[in-house]
């Protein structure tokens, strides 16, 4: 690129001036990119997709693995499956009526000895097919980010890339003219890093998906393990919804022996044991929920255990 002899600034703009201009341009480009991404990730105008089944909720919140756990929980609640005590799933009853496609696939895989663990279920053909269907439905409903959205997200990075290209030309021109280009180079390096992150980063859920989950979690707060729900009362659907919304911890709360033997993942449980807070003991803390009620040594420091006290009069 032909430049004037070293008697003037590159392109006729001084270094500091250009840096300031560049910073403004970069800022504007980042803002535009951010707004474009936000719009792409919104998932559309209509709010509140109210007919999310537990397995859809699970897939939305925790992916295919959690959807399988939900099916296991529902089938277990129906008494259709169990474990042998040796980390092997087994059928203990007939397939329940009204089972979903995923439930059916999981049950059949277990009953026909095609899969004996959650890991093996994840690779079973009909289970995967059912999972893919759920994923497709969620992507069609714009709750999950689909391929088209991912592409659109990348296109949204164009403004920032454009600013980078401009900077590259300036940098190259400046270098050829022997002008200092250090700050520009540093700024571009930072901007390039941001661009790479934006190009690679695509969240799983749209905002609509996030909102739907938040609304459901609020609506079904009574199913959270910390609320100590009566699992038998809420039945298989309640158990499944709890797993979908609150994770494997719900199945651990509902049926610890089964969850342990089925090797259900619980974010309080890592492969080497429980977190030091005792994991599910925090719900056991209902008997010990505040320091003062513990230190009084009363046998009835929590609510429902008191309910047993008041209620079972003379029993």
């Amino acid at each position: 690129m032909a430049v004037l002899a070293a008697s003037g600034d590159t392109w006729g703009i001084s270094g500091p001036d250009f840096l300031m201009l560049y910073a403004v341009l970069a800022g504007a480009a980042l803002l535009v990119t951010y707004l474009l991404r936000r719009s792409v990730l919104s998932g559309g105008g209509e709010r509140g997709d109210n007919n999310l089944t537990p397995e859809k909720v699970a897939y939305l919140s925790g992916g295919p693995g959690l959807a399988i756990t939900t099916a296991l929980g529902a089938l277990r609640s129906h008494g259709a499956i169990g474990t042998t005590g040796k980390r092997t799933l087994t059928a203990t009853g007939t397939q329940p009526a009204g089972a979903t496609t995923l439930d059916t696939a999981v049950y059949n895989a277990v009953a026909n000895n095609q899969a004996s663990s959650a890991r093996e279920l994840a690779t079973n053909a009909s289970v995967r097919s059912a999972l893919d269907t759920i994923g497709d439905q969620l992507r069609r409903s714009r709750l999950l980010v689909g391929q088209g959205t991912r592409t659109a997200l990348r296109w949204a990075t164009i403004p920032v890339i454009g600013v980078l290209v401009l900077g590259w030309f300036r940098w190259d021109a400046g270098r050829n003219a022997g002008r200092p280009v250090l700050y520009l180079g540093l700024g571009m390096a930072g901007l390039a890093l941001v661009t790479v992150v934006l190009l690679l980063r695509a969240p799983r859920r749209t905002r609509r998906g996030d909102d739907a989950l938040a609304a459901l979690r609020s609506q079904y707060q009574y199913l959270a393990p910390t609320s100590d729900p009566a699992w038998n009362l809420y039945g298989p659907v309640g158990t499944a919804m709890a797993i979908g919304l609150f994770g494997g911890a719900a199945l651990w709360a509902a049926d610890p022996a089964f969850a342990a033997d089925a090797e259900v993942l619980n974010r309080n449980v890592n492969s080497s044991g429980w977190s030091s807070s005792g994991g599910s003991s925090s719900s056991g803390g209902s008997s010990c929920s505040s320091g003062s009620s513990c230190s009084s040594g009363s046998s009835c420091s929590g609510g429902s255990s008191c309910g047993g006290g008041g209620g079972g009069c003379g029993g």
């Binding site: 009835c300 209620g311 079972g312 009069c313 003379g314």
Partner: protein, 272 residues
């Protein structure tokens, strides 16, 4: 007094079920489970928004104890009433601790003048701090004290007369005590001041070792429902509630139990 119709004992374990009862007009909550000064648990707050009355039910004041009831516990009960805007509160004719040891359950008081005096004093101490009426619940017991000076009915009547408290009639306790004493349950009903009944508990139990245990974790037996009807024939109480503390059955079965109580009492069902 705004307690009417059929209600249920609210517990966190069944919060979702209680929230879905369209006709519910009142429920009861264990007073000690409400945090002093709030906040009210979210599902209870939603019930309050629907104008469902909430009655705090104390279980650990030990009004029947020889020692004066702990002022902190009275404060907690009064605070609970204020927190949920309760129309009344309730506690038991019982003691739960003695000699520094917690019994972990409600125990019967001896039906003696001394015990009556202690109870009356404690009830009055409690009432002094409450802005709402106090209802007292006689408990079920597998055994009686030796040398009782009063019958259960007389003891209760004297207590209610002396304190002006209301009666929380636990019909399952009436049944259990009569069964275990070999008496006729309706005989006790005939001698109780039924006009003082604020509301009624209905609960389940089971027979073990020849004795009837008021467990609150079993279905309500038909005999108890019959006793509900017998009570209503004498004087229908304004409100009745199902009291269940654990081993909850599937929602449909629990709803059926609630409906059975409504039918036995002649009140509209709350499940629809």
């Amino acid at each position: 007094m705004t307690l009417t119709g059929v209600g249920i004992g609210w517990r966190p374990e069944i919060a979702g079920f209680v929230a879905d009862l369209p006709g519910l007009r009142f429920c009861e909550v264990v007073a000690e489970s409400l945090p002093l000064g709030g906040p009210v648990p979210a599902s209870l707050a939603e019930l309050r928004e629907r104008d469902v009355a909430v009655v705090p039910h104390g279980v650990r004041l030990s009004l029947g104890g020889a020692e004066p009831v702990d002022p902190h516990r009275i404060q907690h009960l009064a605070g609970a009433a204020a927190l949920v805007g309760a129309p009344m509160v309730s506690e038991h004719v019982a003691f739960v601790r003695a000699g520094g040891v917690e019994a972990g359950h409600l125990l019967p008081v001896p039906r003696s003048r001394e015990a009556l005096a202690a109870l009356t004093a404690n009830v009055r101490r409690t009432q002094a701090e409450l802005d709402v009426p106090l209802a007292l619940e006689p408990i079920a017991t597998l055994f009686d004290w030796p040398d009782d000076e009063f019958t259960e009915a007389d003891f209760l009547t004297e207590l209610l007369d002396a304190t002006g408290a209301l009666l929380l009639l636990d019909i399952a306790n009436v049944y259990a005590n009569a069964r275990n004493r070999g008496e006729e349950p309706t005989a006790l009903l005939d001698r109780l001041p039924l006009e003082r009944v604020a509301y009624v508990h209905v609960a389940g139990g089971s027979e073990q070792g020849g004795l009837y245990h008021d467990t609150h974790t079993d279905p309500v037996p038909p005999a108890v429902l019959e006793l509900v009807t017998a009570l209503c024939e004498r004087r229908r109480p304004p409100a009745l509630m199902l009291e269940r503390d654990g081993a909850y059955p599937p929602a449909a079965d629990l709803a059926r139990e609630l409906d059975a109580i409504a039918v036995a009492a002649g009140y509209p069902v709350v499940t629809a």
